[in-house]
């Protein structure tokens, strides 16, 4: 479902964010991305939703080569995935409710369905209150949960989450990870960047480790399968 072929991303000037990464992520996997700060985790995710284009290499998502995707088609690519951004990227001028229902709204989902979806999703991230608050009136953890709810509301097949528990206390973090686990069990592919080794081990199926842009480890969690530096699968 997601394939990287010798993908490199170099920001000007000579800032290597990703170096020659080849990897294949199957539909339905729960993949955790690890690596120290600056290792290239966010870059890896950004390339998948075309917020960045690779300097070299090819990326194929759901059979579509992103290199040949016209920019007009980018929104439609993004709609097929739910993304939790590291900086949340909430719409400041809209309330929690309007943020979460924004995409269903412009996609023409009727108000009743929108309401049902939003209520359920917000309840699952523990945000039944503050629905009329604006992002700036929320704590970091609350904003993060709005971002998660927004990513999950339309039940996408693929969820990309960049440090989705970075601002949450251990208890809430586990709750959110359980939520990801649950939607994963329903068949959603999950690609999640996380600093927390414990959560990674507990919830992930597969771990990708980046170091200075290189893929240095690729292991099935629980039992080690592959750990050759920079190697892709097959």
């Amino acid at each position: 479902m997601i394939e990287f072929f010798n993908v490199s991303k170099i920001y000007p000037v000579n800032r290597v964010a990703l170096a020659d990464v080849t990897v294949r992520i199957e539909r339905g996997q729960f993949v955790v991305l690890a690596g120290s700060s600056g290792a290239g985790k966010s870059t890896f995710l950004r390339l998948i939703y075309r917020a960045a284009v690779p300097t070299a290499g090819q990326i194929v998502v759901n059979g579509r080569n992103l290199g040949s995707l016209p920019s007009k088609k980018v929104p439609y690519l993004r709609r097929t995935m739910g993304v939790v951004f590291q900086d949340f990227s909430l719409i400041e001028r809209k309330t929690v409710w309007d943020n979460v229902t924004f995409l269903p709204k412009i996609l023409g989902v009727d108000a009743k369905t929108r309401r049902r979806l939003a209520e359920r999703t917000l309840e699952r991230v523990g945000l039944q209150r503050h629905l009329d608050s604006y992002p700036a009136q929320l704590s970091g953890g609350e904003q993060q949960r709005v971002a998660i709810a927004r990513a999950l509301i339309s039940k996408p097949d693929l969820v990309l989450a960049d440090e989705p528990t970075g601002n949450l206390d251990p208890h809430l973090s586990r709750g959110i990870m359980h939520l990801f686990s649950e939607i994963h069990r329903q068949g959603t592919t999950i690609l999640l960047a996380s600093h927390d080794p414990e959560l990674r081990r507990e919830f992930g199926e597969r771990l990708l480790v980046l170091d200075e842009g290189r893929l240095v480890a690729d292991e099935e969690l629980g039992r080690r399968t592959l750990s050759t530096a920079g190697a892709g699968l097959e």
């Binding site: 929104p75 439609y76 709609r79 993304v83 990227s89 924004f102 709204k105 412009i106 996609l107």
Partner: protein, 297 residues
């Protein structure tokens, strides 16, 4: 979302933007209104002046003033000569007393001056009504001033021609100035909308990131521009009408009244003015986001 829902959404977003940034929006609306007002004044003046010139042209006369010592026979010969010219419809002889009467009627407040004279101070004159074919008349007029007995010639066509030139110059300048002002209005709306897109750049990026098409990202800003343009043109139209009405109530000389206050715009012209403001707004709303329609949000 269908088109109507989308337009409703754009409108509510745009109005939100306008309300939040009302000071700066008011500035754009005022610029547009001022531009359209000046353009409208030129249009009104041009229209009315052209219409006035047309109506004056139809009562235009050529008056030949004669020396008072000319005999009736001599006057009859001159009249005959004139009537034979192609293009002359009628020749009317105005005697001194008749001339004085006319003067009294036209300028009642100056009538007292005439009391000082025992006899009418006006010369005998021949009024020529021409029917537009001026070739022969012009030729005759060219030679007439040298003739004994003819003291002066007063040809309305001469000043109507200069007035015509002034009117067409005004129209041309009006068109040019109007064009420049509309450009200025579009640019000022564009700057306001650009400021909006700058203020909201993070959320524009956020919308793009979660899969909003350019249609949805830009729609509110285009509508914001449109609303500003339309508000500006409504304001201009209102101000024009007020000015027209207000000047109409003032005691202005008849030629000003004829030339400037003949009639207000036709509904079509008013609509065109509105459309012009709307267009300036649309253009202003479309420009800013063109520059940033990149892939990266």
């Amino acid at each position: 979302m269908n088109v109507f829902q989308a337009l409703g959404y754009f409108a509510s977003e745009a109005i939100g933007n306008l309300v939040r940034g009302w000071r700066i929006s008011a500035l754009a609306v005022a610029t547009t209104a001022l531009s359209l007002f000046i353009g409208g004044v030129l249009l009104l003046a041009g229209n009315n002046m052209a219409r006035a010139i047309e109506s004056w042209r139809s009562d235009a006369q050529i008056v030949v003033y004669l020396d008072n010592d000319l005999t009736d026979d001599e006057i009859a010969i001159l009249t005959e000569e004139l009537l034979e010219l192609p293009g002359v419809d009628r020749v009317i002889q105005i005697g001194p007393d008749q001339a004085r009467e006319r003067f009294r009627e036209r300028f009642p407040e100056l009538g007292e001056i005439l009391l000082e004279f025992e006899r009418s101070p006006f010369p005998i004159s021949l009024e020529i009504e021409a029917n537009g074919d001026r070739g022969a008349i012009d030729e005759w007029l060219a030679g007439v001033s040298d003739r004994p007995g003819v003291s002066a010639v007063d040809d309305d066509a001469e000043w109507l021609e200069s007035l015509d030139a002034v009117a067409s110059a005004a129209s041309a300048v009006g068109l040019l100035v109007g064009g420049i002002l509309m450009g200025a209005a579009a640019i000022s709306i564009a700057s306001v909308v650009r400021l909006s897109t700058f203020v909201y750049r993070k959320e524009i990026a956020a919308m793009r990131l979660i899969g909003a098409t350019e249609f949805f990202v830009r729609g509110p800003f285009v509508v914001e521009g449109l609303v500003q343009g339309l508000a500006g043109s409504c304001l201009a139209l209102g101000a024009l009408w007020l000015a027209f009405w207000g000047l109409g109530r003032l005691d202005v000389p008849w030629f000003v009244r004829d030339a400037l206050l003949g009639s207000f715009m036709t509904p079509r012209q008013a609509l065109a003015l509105l459309a012009l403001g709307g267009t300036a707004g649309l253009v202003g709303g479309l420009i800013p986001l063109r520059e940033r329609s990149g892939v990266f949000g």
